[in-house]
């Protein structure tokens, strides 16, 4: 039985420092959700050889907190976390394909541990197994047919790839993009970084033509490297705008500036956080606040309470750093070590 109390949901969706607001309208989502009884949420990620990033946890935790709020107002909610094993090796420049495929099971083991530690109720699904699913294959066929006839779709697909990879993707018929769209078709909410907006746009347009569920995108703020002074962001405007790929530690070869679960030790964490640029100005990148937010989400999940932001701490850079280190160690690093 649904009720009309979206207050806590709205609060979560307006969390400062977490939600990338320019691409997202709470009203749009709540209006659409109001018409549904059950909601399917998807978050998908690929990975690389460097391990499980802390930044992935932001998405797992947010998906769970969102699901809890939706359930509390009467929806049936399913959360699927897709591990893109097949897509992780799709890129031509990936040389260690076998190694990558083999670590999928390690990744799933760690995800199961994360699920258990924080009480997450999501499903973990390997992309490779999903691709064998009949519905997925039918989706892929239908959207491939639509795609081949539309310049509009092609133009959007082009925006999902880097300039230097456009010709390679064109030759491949934008297969990666189409598989991604086929995957998310049929879901109601997709959670991801803002840079995935164009996949979702394509899924919405094609979904409408195929009478599928209309996808709402919820984009979390971009992921930034730790241990960087302010000049890094000044000299890398593309990172400032789009961030790093949250789920790939080696994104932009910055694996030494990420927290990797089970690998980055306490001293390294302290160094990374203490040497990070921290701004009071909320429009600027703030990777330390991101660490703090993720740790606070973990705390709420462990204590089974609604998420409460602590945005005031952004005005106290030293306190923020200290709180980020302590909360991260207590609520994520140590619990996952055991």
């Amino acid at each position: 039985m649904k009720n009309n109390n979206f207050e806590q949901l709205n609060k979560l969706l307006k969390t400062k420092g977490l939600i990338y607001s320019p691409m997202f309208s709470v009203d749009e989502v709540t209006n659409r959700l109001g018409k549904l009884n059950s909601i399917k949420i998807i978050y998908g990620e690929t990975y690389d050889i460097y391990g499980q990033t802390l930044d992935s946890l932001k998405y797992y935790f947010f998906a769970e907190l969102l699901a809890r709020e939706l359930r509390s107002i009467g929806f049936k909610v399913v959360v699927d976390i897709i591990i893109g094993d097949a897509h992780s090796v799709k890129n031509k420049i990936v040389s260690n394909k076998n190694q990558l495929l083999s670590i999928a099971s390690e990744r799933i083991d760690l995800l199961e541990k994360i699920k258990k530690t924080y009480g997450l109720k999501n499903n973990i699904i390997l992309m490779s197994s999903l691709m064998r699913d009949k519905t997925y294959q039918e989706n892929l066929q239908e959207i491939s047919d639509l795609f081949s006839k539309s310049k509009e779709y092609r133009d959007i697909a082009e925006k999902t790839v880097l300039q230097n990879r456009i010709s390679q993707e064109e030759k491949a018929g934008y297969q990666y993009v189409l598989e991604e769209v086929a995957l998310i078709l049929g879901y109601d909410i997709k959670i991801g970084p803002p840079r995935e907006n164009n996949y979702d746009k394509l899924a919405r347009l094609m979904g409408k033509r195929l009478n599928k569920n209309q996808l709402s995108g919820i984009y979390l703020k971009p992921t930034y490297p730790l241990g960087m002074k302010f000049d890094y962001f000044v000299t890398h405007p593309e990172i400032e705008e789009f961030g790093l790929t949250p789920y790939k530690a080696g994104s932009n070869k910055l694996q030494d500036h990420r927290i990797i679960i089970g690998q980055t030790n306490e001293n390294q964490i302290k160094n990374l956080i203490n040497n990070s640029f921290v701004a009071k100005n909320p429009i600027l990148p703030n990777p330390v606040f991101d660490v703090y937010l993720i740790s606070r989400m973990a705390k709420c999940l462990i204590n089974n309470v609604a998420f409460q932001n602590d945005e005031e701490v952004i005005n106290q850079p030293q306190e923020l750093k200290s709180k980020a280190i302590n909360e991260l160690m207590d609520k994520i690093i140590k619990p996952l070590q055991n």
Binding site: F230, D231, F233, V234, T235, P237, F277, A279, N281, I283
Partner: protein, 386 residues
């Protein structure tokens, strides 16, 4: 009150508002026209990172840049970088010059080594002084003590008067083959070449000053920053081209707004037009007279001013405070009160006059105390290109 007078005051308000809008959009238009980058993004980072910034940053007086990013790396890592900015000595320094020197001081606090060429050759070539010796005399008697009085660190400041540092001309010769007269006349106009001195100065001597810190004698290639007014931007373009040809690092540029002329806020304060400027040599009486006669952003009928407010953007009096008063909160308060008609022009002029007189007389006192400045003068021989 006379309706005609009220009508006229409202018309005057609209005209001043249009002027304020024109001044505000001038710099935005220049960024687009000259393909510069807006400084606001870097400003946000500097304000977030530095324990203390500067009024020139917080008030958007530095409004544009070209390739400033490498300088931020030097600032962030506490490494030295180099700034070059000079002037030609044809009159005493005025408050417009002070804006540039405030900027150089701020950059020096951030780690910059500052080179200040005093281009007395240019003053003579451009006909601003009757003789070369006159411009040289102004440089030593007036300009250099005044610059030092701003408070530069002697270990990180090098001043040179061009005609007393002939090495620079040798370096200019070594640069000269990289710049054609045609290129110079395209950038600056044909008048830039109307005597042989101008041709050599614009095509080579000016560039030698900018590239000088990258010579081996000063430690070799390095990031160099040139703060300029918008009218000097073409020099930077030529310097960047030549730097690439000669395997130097192309200089970065930051562009600051002009201190408004006292009689027309759309124009800049100019040393050769005494009515437009407050000189750092002016007496309190001269300052008071100039401010009393300055163009304001307020209408002439008090009731209309109280009703509609003033236009700070079109006010040469407010501009004096905005460019020089150190307290951001004070400026913000005056701005709002003036804009809302809560402070009259008479009150604004009184506050401004008191502030500027103190600013200038303090400077004059410091300047008087400067007895020698040998430690600031650059004498290093230049051989690396010979």
């Amino acid at each position: 009150m006379n309706d005609q007078l009220l009508l006229q005051a409202r018309k005057e308000y609209q005209e001043k508002k249009n002027l304020g809008d024109k001044i505000s959009s001038y710099y935005k238009d220049k960024i687009k026209e000259l393909n510069l980058k807006d400084f606001s993004r870097i400003r946000a980072y500097l304000e977030a990172s530095l324990t203390q910034t500067d009024k020139l940053i917080s008030r958007d007086i530095i409004f544009a840049h070209l390739d400033f990013e490498p300088i931020t790396t030097s600032i962030a890592e506490g490494k030295e970088f180099t700034v070059v900015s000079g002037l030609n000595p044809s009159s005493p320094l005025h408050l417009g010059h002070k804006v540039m020197f405030d900027l150089l001081l701020f950059l020096q606090r951030l780690g910059a080594n500052v080179f200040i060429p005093i281009t007395n050759d240019e003053s003579y070539i451009d006909g601003k002084t009757k003789t070369l010796s006159e411009s040289r005399r102004i440089a030593y008697e007036e300009i250099i003590p005044s610059i030092i009085a701003f408070g530069f660190n002697p270990e990180k400041t090098k001043i040179f008067v061009l005609s007393d540092y002939p090495e620079i001309y040798n370096f200019a010769i070594s640069i000269s083959r990289n710049v054609t007269n045609k290129y110079v006349s395209t950038v600056f106009g044909a008048e830039a070449l109307d005597n042989s001195g101008k041709a050599f100065y614009r095509s080579a001597v000016q560039l030698a000053q900018i590239l000088l810190p990258q010579l081996e004698e000063f430690g070799g290639m390095k990031n160099t920053l040139i703060p300029v007014g918008i009218d000097q931007h073409p020099y930077i373009l030529i310097a960047r081209d030549v730097a690439k040809k000669m395997d130097f690092i192309p200089p970065s540029e930051i562009v600051f707004k002009f201190q408004n002329s006292l009689i027309d806020p759309f124009e800049k304060m100019s040393g050769s037009k005494p009515k437009t400027a407050i000189y750092l040599t002016d007496s309190p009486k001269e300052i008071e007279d100039k401010i009393n006669k300055a163009f304001t952003g307020s209408v002439s009928v008090l009731d209309v001013h109280k009703e509609l407010g003033g236009i700070p953007e079109a006010c040469s009096v407010f501009s004096l405070l905005n460019f020089h008063h150190p307290d951001d909160n004070f400026i913000s308060d005056i701005y709002n009160r003036y804009k809302n008609g809560k402070i009259t022009m008479r009150e604004l002029k009184l506050v401004t006059t008191e502030f500027v007189i103190k600013l200038v007389t303090d400077h004059q006192e410091k300047k008087k105390a400067i007895k020698k400045f040998e430690e600031f003068i650059l004498k290093k021989p230049l051989k690396s290109f010979l």
